[in-house]
């Protein structure tokens, strides 16, 4: 029987301290322990990208990262993109261009697109398609997704995901949520 491991991480600007089984996957920590169900489990085999979140500012497939590997990191999920009522430019563009049908792949698609625009603020259509290779959409044929990323790129800060950094208030709320085991 393996023993639990303490993990401290910041998620969307809130600090969480949890004891986790070493085999707990990051996506399950986010969804089941913290109640952040925007990151979806599609294929569970590192293929579809629906579980994509940012760890320290870079896109990863959270079904293939152990929660213990995220100890000490800053995690950003789709829930951390909008600032109050203000949608992130990528969210706006997916909305405006109808870059989705069922929406299942959308959170991962947007998080991967943010990584792409951070690396390449003005991508060509081909570069967008290459940059989103890790994300599968079964509805759209990708056409409007590519258009949405291209339109979002016109916004000067589309690639920037301001990880708020844990404020004292956010840390307090996060620690309380973690202690209560929301969604667990």
């Amino acid at each position: 029987m393996s023993s639990n491991v303490p993990v401290r991480l910041s998620v969307n600007g809130r600090v969480h301290e949890l004891d986790v089984e070493p085999r707990l996957l990051l996506v399950h920590l986010l969804r089941d322990r913290l109640g952040l169900t925007g990151s979806h489990v599609g294929c569970d085999t590192t293929s579809c990208g629906a579980c994509t979140v940012h760890v320290d500012g870079e896109a990863v497939k959270s079904c293939t990262v152990l929660a213990v590997q995220a100890d000490g990191t800053k995690v950003t999920t789709i829930e951390g993109l909008a600032q109050g009522d203000q949608l992130h430019p990528l969210q706006e563009a997916f909305w405006e261009d109808h870059g989705l049908q069922c929406g299942y792949c959308t959170p991962g698609m947007i998080m991967a697109a943010a990584d792409l625009l951070a690396r390449n603020p003005d991508p060509t259509e081909e570069e967008i398609r290459h940059g989103l290779e890790g994300n599968l959409c079964r509805c759209t044929g990708y056409h409007n997704i590519v258009r949405a990323v291209s339109d979002a790129a016109k916004h000067p800060h589309a690639g920037r995901i301001p990880h708020p950094g844990p404020t004292p208030e956010g840390a307090a709320i996060g620690l309380e949520l973690a202690r209560e085991g929301l969604g667990a």
């Binding site: 085999r23 996957l25 994509t52 152990l66 213990v68 590997q69 990584d115 690396r119 290779e133 890790g134």
Partner: protein, 281 residues
């Protein structure tokens, strides 16, 4: 899918990690980015009892130029190498591994230690005639690329050893190309071909190296192609002729995506493309 239970440690030095590996025996596994190991663990194809996470081990990251070589720390991620022109074929091939999310986690040492003949970096190491430095808690040694890959996912690295560094020649005056054929964009290569070509002043092929991904149980050199092209003029005809030899000596495994015969066909086509691009023809 959930991995089977395991114990977990994250030592803060290389020595401590090597001791933990030695202590854990055959069922202990080192964890770098985890993008080869964790999928196997989730499918319960790998069931290690101890994971030694290397994320706190310092000094194993980054690429440094030393004399005519690049020394690349084993924990350097594909994302840290991708697209860097100064790294030549390493910069090209790393940008084609899987997808960006995988490249943000996967490491060069992890990929080489995994030894999957369908993955890209083993082929690159074999083509470049690079070496890896490995260490256990008692000693360190060098393993040449040609000796590293022994069979399907089987390398010369012992259970208590870790790759610490990868060393490849810079090959600055060589043209390079990696051609990879996949069914879906992010898939492993059905077949991959690495071509390195050094052009002489008279336009002839002074030297050439060709290596294959997924054409045998290990990455292999296409020696027949190399022999056919070395010393020849780098014309489109000569390249096409040499590429016809591509399937010689290969033993490609058939799988859901391709029969052995189809892979041999792909090898010939991709070899021609890779050589043409590497030679600038």
């Amino acid at each position: 899918m959930i991995p089977a239970e395991f114990d977990y440690v994250a030592p803060d030095s290389l020595d401590a990690a090597l001791r933990a590996l030695a202590h854990g025996g055959e069922d202990a596994k080192a964890l770098a980015g985890g993008h080869s190991l964790l999928p196997l663990m989730k499918m319960r194809l790998a069931v290690p009892t101890l994971l030694v996470d290397l994320r706190h081990v310092p000094g194993l990251r980054g690429a440094q130029r030393e004399n005519g070589s690049w020394r690349i720390g084993a924990l350097t991620r594909h994302a840290d190498l991708q697209g860097r022109a100064e790294l030549g074929i390493v910069g090209e091939a790393t940008s084609l591994i899987a997808d960006q999310q995988v490249r943000n986690r996967g490491t060069i040492g992890g990929s080489l230690a995994h030894g999957d003949p369908a993955s890209d970096l083993p082929t690159i190491l074999v083509a470049m005639e690079g070496t890896v430095s490995v260490r256990n808690s008692a000693a360190s040694r060098e393993i040449a690329a040609g000796d590293l890959f022994q069979d399907y996912m089987t390398t010369a690295i012992a259970a208590d050893e870790l790759i610490t560094e990868v060393r490849v020649p810079a090959l600055e005056d060589w043209g390079h190309a990696y051609e990879k054929f996949t069914r879906r964009a992010e898939d492993w290569a059905m077949v991959g071909v690495c071509a390195l070509v050094r052009k002489g002043a008279d336009g002839s092929c002074e030297d050439v190296r060709v290596a294959f991904t997924n054409m045998a149980s290990t990455p292999i050199r296409a020696t027949a192609v190399e022999h056919a092209l070395r010393g020849q003029p780098l014309s489109s005809d000569a390249i096409t002729g040499a590429a016809e030899q591509a399937a010689e000596g290969t033993d490609p495994p058939g799988d859901l995506n391709a029969t052995p015969e189809y892979k041999r066909h792909l090898a010939r086509v991709l070899t021609r493309r890779a050589l043409s691009r590497a030679a600038g023809v």
